[in-house]
Symmetry: none
Subunit: 127 residues, 4 copies
Amino acid sequence: MSWEFSPDKPIYLQLQEQVKLRIVSGKYLPGEKLASVRDLSIEAAVNPNTMQRALAELERDGLVYTERTSGRFVTNDTEVISKMKNDIAIELVDVFLSKMNEIGYSKSEAADIVRNSKEVESTDGNS
Amino acid sequence: MSWEFSPDKPIYLQLQEQVKLRIVSGKYLPGEKLASVRDLSIEAAVNPNTMQRALAELERDGLVYTERTSGRFVTNDTEVISKMKNDIAIELVDVFLSKMNEIGYSKSEAADIVRNSKEVESTDGNS
Amino acid sequence: MSWEFSPDKPIYLQLQEQVKLRIVSGKYLPGEKLASVRDLSIEAAVNPNTMQRALAELERDGLVYTERTSGRFVTNDTEVISKMKNDIAIELVDVFLSKMNEIGYSKSEAADIVRNSKEVESTDGNS
Amino acid sequence: MSWEFSPDKPIYLQLQEQVKLRIVSGKYLPGEKLASVRDLSIEAAVNPNTMQRALAELERDGLVYTERTSGRFVTNDTEVISKMKNDIAIELVDVFLSKMNEIGYSKSEAADIVRNSKEVESTDGNS
DNA sequence: GTGGTCTAGACCACC
DNA sequence: GTGGTCTAGACCACA
């Protein structure tokens, strides 16, 4: 999985989301050192400033922290990570439910359909 | 609920989806006569050709049918409607599950979270 | 009072502080429209991006809000403003007290000295 | 507490302040013999000339005195020390009050906030 | 080498 | 005109 952007959202937000995803999904482990801003920006083919901005905002969320001269690291606080994972799930569920609602399914009906759905091969996969 | 469009998808597709939604959600009832293409296009502030195209595709799906002289009607075949409703739900569930999967939730966990989620006020829909 | 910067702190932080000061001191009133980013940046003789960054961070604090096409405004929420004013005071008191502490004054001694001090003409003044 | 310097003020001034602090705070007692300029300069990792200059100025203020043959001593005149302590406090209070004033607090309000503030753990000092 | 700041200048969407 | 994003490129502090 590489870096891909849709034209309808700011790149720095998409970078933010994708890094966030990698952290909550365990692709980036707690305490792991991230590549440098410069390297990440090359990898994602964006300007270093843009990557910098995305990471700075993740830092505000407490998902990463910076050590001045040695680089950026994923937080060791697994609490924060699982809280974020939960927040993302809540948001996904909200969107899902409001759409199901629109076509006439109640919350519990939606839950049943999810439970009985065919297994879906994950697009990317996690551990 | 009025007609709203996002700039990043063809308008005729969005029209199609929105009419489809109104049918499966029961806002347009089986057998109900639709407004004329001209009126609908005015209501949605789109070109009549665009509206025409959207409705033609819905006709292909069997959700509406045309009577030469008297206009377009929602299908009376509730089978077709509930099949469509089901198809939409399947698609929503697939998308939802693959995203939940990405951040580390299994199908049954996802179902539980849906069931235990706070009630979400529908954005529009029929309750 | 114009814009002045010390070389030992990032300019965007100083901009942030100075605007914050103008808001909590009542120089900028609740609901008042701010000058445009471009104009403010000219006034402060900084790059528009730098001013933009400072204001964006003030927005995160809830002190200003943006209306897409018409500009930025001081929040109308006087709660937020007085909360911020209080936070700044707490910080000033902390610094003051720890220094007084260092030279041997207790909290209540410090308070007494403040109360009995000669009136100080404010450097800038507020209403 | 060791010797620490900020890059934005002359070091001899910072030395002066820190020694002054140690005297008024009682860390260096009245009549106590100071270490030699050479030793103090090593301890503070500064040039002996710089330390010499700092101490000379303290001598001008009457806080230390030199006995030709035996070294430098903190003054025995507790009057001078408490006067200096008072001068420093006045200055701190002035700065504090003018800032509080800027954000809209009167002298007596400021005093109240100080009195009711949470206890602040001293950064170093004597309690 | 690391992160961080700042500038200059372009481009976009919105109205 | 407004705010917002992005890039390119320079410079700094730290170690």
